[in-house]
Symmetry: C2
């Protein structure tokens, strides 16, 4: 059975619907093989270096009368998710929303291993939102990615209706309405931030092009792989068809950590802390803002009357958290990073509580704070819950906050010069003064 | 400020309530140190071998006028969770249920690393159920456990109100209303099932005694550490004050995997598969029941007309899943195991859908199927959602199912003889015929 290539979520829905009806007309059916055969894989990707993928798990010695071929979708569907289904005909799913496609890069990594199960459980997009996961791995990780897909199968999440895995962003990002870009090369020994900007920048330039070519034109993009601000800038510069406003660099874990440290210092539970902004770069120049933050509705400076702590120790505590965690736990903070990605998405798909805001690294052009245009800078945002956001206007500044914002702004402008060759703005010139990677960051 | 030791959840609530009021009467307060100091730890546990625990993260150089001592609770509270709070006074939490204590052993392991964040997010017990996590680690894992607690802090879960960590079950299990016993010694090379029964049996005998002594008298106990059926039996025999009915051995991952394999074979989405029972031991003698299972409301045998597959390949596919996953993913199935623990708990705290059931390893005495009394055997259960369950009566048996049930029953009776020294029933006599550990199981 040949299946037409999909071009939009609506087409995808129709595809599944029609296909299900066709299948139902036969009495008994079964997939010829539910897993990815080595030959199938090689021919899809025209790769000669891909290792042999064994098929011991799902290979069905089929004696059923009707054989169904694996659908010829853009990326490889996996196992039980290759089976068609019929959302419309299911009485209990009539109140469900239209299926959305969520692409995730670095899908075989530890952050994704937490995040994917949260997405599939309905925790992020709600109990009435069926989802399709489109998972991008690498040749090295494709077997692990199959393992992830198997665990997603075994979890029986009712809302998870499709899982596709692949190693080509142009296939995996097809029709994506959300792109969560987690995969990046980790910083090995001796690799400086400038090197990493170039290595990972190339990945994000390529993924920007792929999003531009095949994703939904209003795709929301969340960049987690570091250096995430400048990666997000590179990505958006390579995706001119997608509004620059749709790109986010994740600074939510920093915000969450800042809230926790303020709570600890003030001796209150963390749910009393609000209006915390992380300004600028996701690096050691970042500025956790205590001037505008509130505890129990009161300005932080009226509750924590310890300027020395606020001006010196607070920022350090937020920034050293990742390194301290690695020391304790032996690995980087995958679980809480995944939670912060969930928080960041939820902040865009649910209305922001009255009077509060959230931090996200977003495009600066047109910002009301006088921050340089045309970079990705973490700033305070508010959302109506429609996936979009606006910058918060009622923000106070003092000399201390201004001077620290200027420093992180200068760093991001320097990073931008470093990657000019990747943003289409000429020849790169790299003069980063120091290593500002956050401790414990990959 | 000295704080009285807690003896019940109600007392705990009052403690927090009163303490919060006391704290509020002072203008400014902060914990003297939010993390566990090495000296403090040593004196609590009277241990000389505990490694030095560094305190670089949360140690506050405090200049606040009022110092608050770390509460002298039964287990060590962690960081921000040592801070008091006032549920009653919070307008928005007035509709919340009473806080429940959830104890988790093996809390620094990978399964727990998924499970704890699901518990804390409200996914398991609901959005109106505040929880306290009481985490049991070992001397070897206590630092990692601090790392887990730090990530829980940074996740800002509103429902997570207390986190205690410790290495003594008699402290950590205090007032537990749920005990999720995940920790067990993994099976190293050359260790047979009989050896593992003895090694882990001793752990579960001790934890049974601890639950008996300090947990809530109606605590629900879910045993995940293997060999889980006999571990659960040992645990319940050492906890005579707790109803034997309250002990469960986890076979839900097997049930989920069986559902997925039936869906794959029938070519339907997994939400069409119901009434799947796993009978017996969580080992290779387990019996995934296709006689009573249904696909789209029809008996499986009417949909999958392939007896050879059902009688031979189906069980093998379910059992080999864990091993296949390790091959692909390089580690055991932590994420989907955590999902199945969530499913198992939810099956007890939400009413079972009309006509369906779920599998759990439970105490056999009084069972309607003629299975030997006084063992822990996976059987079909139904719940009203009150934490309790009843066995399903309308079950069909045929000779094939009876003979396979007899085999897994014989194995569990043999395992019981192996651990007689741990259940208080005399001298152990171990004649396990073969190694029946599931592939890929720890």
């Amino acid at each position: 059975m040949a299946v037409a290539e999909l071009t939009s979520p609506a087409a995808s829905f129709a595809h599944n619907y029609n296909n299900a009806n066709r299948l139902r007309s036969s009495q008994l059916y079964a997939p010829s093989s539910s897993c990815l055969s080595s030959d199938h894989f090689r021919s899809r990707y025209r790769s000669t270096v891909l290792p042999r993928i064994t098929c011991s798990v799902n290979q069905v010695q089929n004696s059923a009368p009707v054989q169904v071929e694996a659908p010829k979708d853009k990326a490889e569907c996996y196992g039980v998710f290759c089976l068609t289904y019929d959302l419309k005909a299911e009485e209990e799913t009539k109140t469900w929303k239209k299926l959305i496609n969520i692409a995730v890069s670095g899908a075989a990594g530890m952050i994704s291993n937490h995040l994917l199960f949260k997405l599939a459980s309905g925790e992020v997009f709600g109990p009435d939102q069926p989802i399709a996961l489109r998972l991008l791995g690498s040749e090295r990780s494709i077997q692990a990615l199959e393992g992830v897909a198997m665990e997603l199968e075994d979890s029986l999440f009712p809302l998870l209706r499709e899982v596709n895995i692949g190693i080509d962003a142009y296939e995996v990002f097809q029709d994506a309405e959300w792109a969560l870009l987690i995969g990046a090369k980790p910083r090995g020994p001796g690799i400086e931030r400038a090197d990493l900007l170039d290595i990972n920048g190339q990945i994000f330039a390529e993924q920007g092009k792929a999003l531009n070519a095949v994703a939904s034109p209003n795709v929301k993009v969340m960049v987690v792989g570091n250096p995430c601000n400048t990666n997000a800038l590179i990505c958006l510069k390579n995706a001119p068809k997608i509004p620059a406003k749709n790109f986010h660099a994740l600074t939510r874990l920093d915000e969450n950590r800042a809230k926790c440290q303020l709570a600890l210092k003030a001796g209150v539970f963390y749910d009393k802390v609000s209006n915390v902004t992380i300004w600028g770069n996701h690096s050691t120049t970042q500025v956790p803002d205590f001037l505008n933050a509130k505890i129990d509705g009161m300005p932080v400076k009226e509750v924590i009357k310890d300027d020395k702590w606020l001006e010196h120790e607070f920022t350090e505590k937020v920034q050293k958290r990742g390194g301290a965690l690695i020391q304790k736990w032996g690995r980087s903070s995958a679980a809480s990073t995944a939670v912060s990605i969930v928080d960041a998405i939820k902040s865009l798909v649910t209305p922001t509580p009255e009077g509060d805001w959230f931090s996200s690294g977003v495009y600066t052009s047109g910002n009301p704070y006088g921050i340089a245009e045309d970079i990705v800078f973490s700033m305070p945002c508010r959302s109506k819950g429609d996936g979009d956001y606006e910058l918060v206007k009622e923000i106070q500044f003092d000399d201390y906050l201004r001077s620290r914002i200027a420093k992180t702004e200068a760093e991001l402008l320097a990073e931008k010069r470093c990657v000019a060759h990747l943003t289409g703005e000429g020849i790169a010139y790299c003069d980063l003064p120091e290593d500002t990677m956050l401790p414990g960051e990959m």
